[in-house]
Amino acid sequence: ASGDPLDSGSGDGGGTSETIVVGSQDYYSNEIIAEIYAQALEDQGFTVDRQFLIGQREVYIPEIEGGEIDVFPEYTGNLLQYYVPDTEATTSDDVYAELETSLPEGLRVLDQAPATDQDSYNVTKEFSEANGVTSLADLAKVTTPLTLGGNSELETRPYGPAGLKEVYGVDVAFTPIEDSGGPLTLKALVDDQVQLVNIYSANPEIAANELVTLEDPEGLFLASNVVPVVSEKVTDEIADVINTVSAALTAEDLVALNALSVNEQQSADQIAKDWLAEKALF
């Protein structure tokens, strides 16, 4: 992927003829990435139709498979688990490799970005210090009952309560908190209604609230890099544009972008525009 002006020039010719549908999850961080894709594509002369905030994977995947959406920001680990629930891969490269072969007919992933936004279990600083817990393995030593908080689907995920028990021998109760690691989850953790919460690693609140993200030595969580899933309609010209974006999107960038959304309350549109301007990719 390069920023060759000639490439983008030819992309112009092919792209304007058809509208590219870009989708996003019902999750602000995902929406920002989708918006970046969209603006980058528009910048290169493509016509984009935004179908943002479409709920969870289970709702939108069928629409991508059905060809109603062409480009969708995804996360390698989570997506792989969706198709291969019992996958053994955990490292970034393994996951990406297995994902490429597991996608159904008509779908493919482009290059993955350095940025990751993966599930992670977090505790408060006080809890960490009081119980000497810095890793998931340490949790087995804790004698007080533990409750895990997270979106309801976590309960049935391989890395949910069952995975914790199997891999680390930790027993936890589960409380669904339906805000994708958002403010309720945070508040429940701070109020000690739950002791352990699932928050995406790119969430700026982790740093803002001095939470301790527990290490995962056994690789319970799969690495989950940002990766665009695309339909057959996506030509090489389009792919080049998106790959350029992906290459530039670092883990720190993603946290910073999210912080702009949550703390500065900026719109996805604004955040994406500023980021693209700053990176000067094209």
């Binding site: 019902d26 905030l53 709920g55 805000d179 403010p183 959304s261 309350q265 604004q270």
Partner: protein, 229 residues
Amino acid sequence: MNWLWSNLDLVGELMLTHLALSVPAIILSFVISVPIGWLAHRYRWSRGVLLGLCALLYAIPSLALFIALPPITGLPLRSPLNLVIALTLYGIAVIVRTSADAFDAVERDIRQSATAVGYSAVGRFWGVELPLAGPVLLSGLRVVIVSTVSLATVGAVIGVPSLGTLFTNGFQRNIQAEIITGIVATMVLALVLDWLCVMAGRLLMPWSRPNTATARAVSTTLVKQADAA
């Protein structure tokens, strides 16, 4: 406030989307309900059945209906049409009873005097019964407007964008201003539509000065909608 200024576009856009969901539902439910209400009024035996069905419909939780509809209609869950159909059904549930009441409320004397001076059955419906049922029909329509606009927000939970998106999104991002904006925008939308409806009523029915009878009809509509025959 800060949030609002930098997101005026988004709010405006969602308002339009919200209108596109609720206005067709409001109009459809009104247009469908008036004939059903007339049937319930005209044929006593059908009244129990029709109003009973409406009460059943009304008892179905909105979220449950949004989910139960697609297997019947064959539409995708996230289709706005699915939401419009569901909202229309709720509107019907609310307004059929009111329209039956509206036709009941046309005085027998006036109906008979119209017959006596030589109105034909069809002429009497359009020239006398419908206009005289107007004020009560209007009161029912107003209830439907407010409840439909408010109910449409629930669609955001299953991923149909509307002003309700501001609730789910603001909730995830912990932006109270976004949620409050959503609430205010929804209420403003409801009240503006309601006001338009009242104005249209005044224009179309100059004889019906606001009186206690219609005011009372409004408040009983609020109560009766679940009141099976």
